[in-house]
Amino acid sequence: MSDPPAIPSPPAPSKRWEHFPHDADLGIRGFGATPAQAFEQGALALVAAITDPALVRGAETVEIEREAPSLDLLFLDWLNALIFEMAERRMIFGTFDIKIGKGRLTARAHGEAVSRDRHAPAVEPKGATFTELAVAEDSPGQWRAQCVVDV
């Protein structure tokens, strides 16, 4: 019924993530030379739905490991792991170190406790969805990871 979504052009090198519109929720998209970089930028897009990632200090580190049978499910699991850790620890993350190999993700997320005054969080992500979920190499060395997040 609707045309397949066009593959978006990556934004300028200084900003390797973006949001895309959804009626009620929010699309997040990360780009990178590798899946790991695209996942990292996708995570920044998730954080940017809440607050400006540049406002987040890396005072604490949380380690995350996930396994999934495909890259798109791994991206879904990665985002949902971040959403869980942020909710459970009352934290917000601003930088990430990610490694991906053989369906396994190991990552360190750096952040701090949420501050209503300093972060002024706009929304609280509930979960990452299958809507528009995709991890693809659009051209050699140009990876894209995206989905809609329920907020």
Binding site: M1, S2, D23, P121, V123, K126, G127, F130, T131
Partner: protein
Amino acid sequence: MDISRLEKLSESAWRLSPRDGMRAPAIIYAAETLVSEMDDKVLEQIANVAKLPGVARAAYAMPDAHWGYGFPIGGVAAFDADEGGVVSAGGVGFDVSCGVRTHLTGLTPDQIHAVQDDLAAALYEHIPVGLGAEGELRLDDQEMTAMLSGGARWAVERGFGREEDLLRIEERGRAVDADPAEVSEFARKRQRREMGTLGSGNHYLEVQEVVDIFDPVVAEGYGLKRGECVVTIHCGSRGLGHQIGTEFLREMAVSAPALGIALPDRELACAPIKSDLGRRYLGAMRSAINCALANREIIGHLTRQVFARFFQHGELPLMFDVSHNTCKVERHAVDGGTRDLYVHRKGATRAFGPGDERLPESLRAFGQPVLIGGSMGTGSFVLAGVTTSEERAFSSACHGAGRRMSRHAATRMWGGRQVVDDLRAQGIIVKSPSMRGVAEEAPGAYKDVGAVVDSAEASGLAKKVAFLRPMICVKG
């Protein structure tokens, strides 16, 4: 939406005949202007819902429908377990049992005006709102299990509410057949500190003035009086419900092939009702319903505490509490008989008509209250269920205005401070931890709630009872 693809049934009902694997028709209830403004995705999604196994009669979209994931938000569909029917985590959503409750205050607008700023500040400080906010309650595993089983009754038994409230909550405040054992440790952890918290996004607490009465008899039956104020609370099952949605959506999507389900879309994740996965989801989902009912009951209690500081009469009797994102087993008329169906309402409200024995006795003559949430500036409606809603959409109605603009587009159109100042000039005080959040939720980002409820009434889904204008809005 390309309206030419639809058969016009009436000025407010449109039908897509079964095609491309649809097992039943899809029906959209809305005036032509609203249908035209809907995203094509709404039609695509409701048609996909009609492809699921065991779907009964038709899949429906309410007048406030918009693009969701899997089901459209504002989607209603019922499934017959004996016909291979499914239960869908996507059809319930992440915020299980997100809903609205309205308390009567008996106070006049003048009484609220006299303390409006201080009351707004006190509500904002006393009721935890926004990301990272914590409630004062801490639940150990035993109490968590009791809450997940007991719902609002658990809250009342712990002193966070009143016994008489339970008669004014769907299912008397407790979803039976909840199975807390199916709620994961992750979901429990996410909820440990979140009881009695409002959340963020479109969740809110509003003090509202009843400014219009459309049906005096029903309004009186509900306790609504023109020129009096009410308090409306919109929130859901918080982190616990979100986590249950996350876990089961993934498991259902991955398990579908093994369960013999050809998903028209992966986001329509579902499982046969008569399967271990379906049974586990229903047990967990009903536990999340109880979490939402308990959560709203506690917030109602906190609200009463604040009002008691300002007014001698701080009782705030509960008018009604309805849920929006649920799957419930209900008996409905289908094909000349009655069948027990698993009715999914995602962004839709149950709307039993007058005389329905499932309504509390005090409301039975009037039909079920249907609480239509507004959007800070545009006001809210109270509707009443009507008998025709059974035949139209398994006794369902719309739940709110429905977004007409993405969050991104809203922040390009408005600034949060500007929205707050504009609303203050209209006599509405907004309290929120985030100006960007306010901009994303700007009144103009939503459809015309009046047009939505007019369509609901014209469609025979519910009838208008009262219009409420906000005076104070605490936004998460």
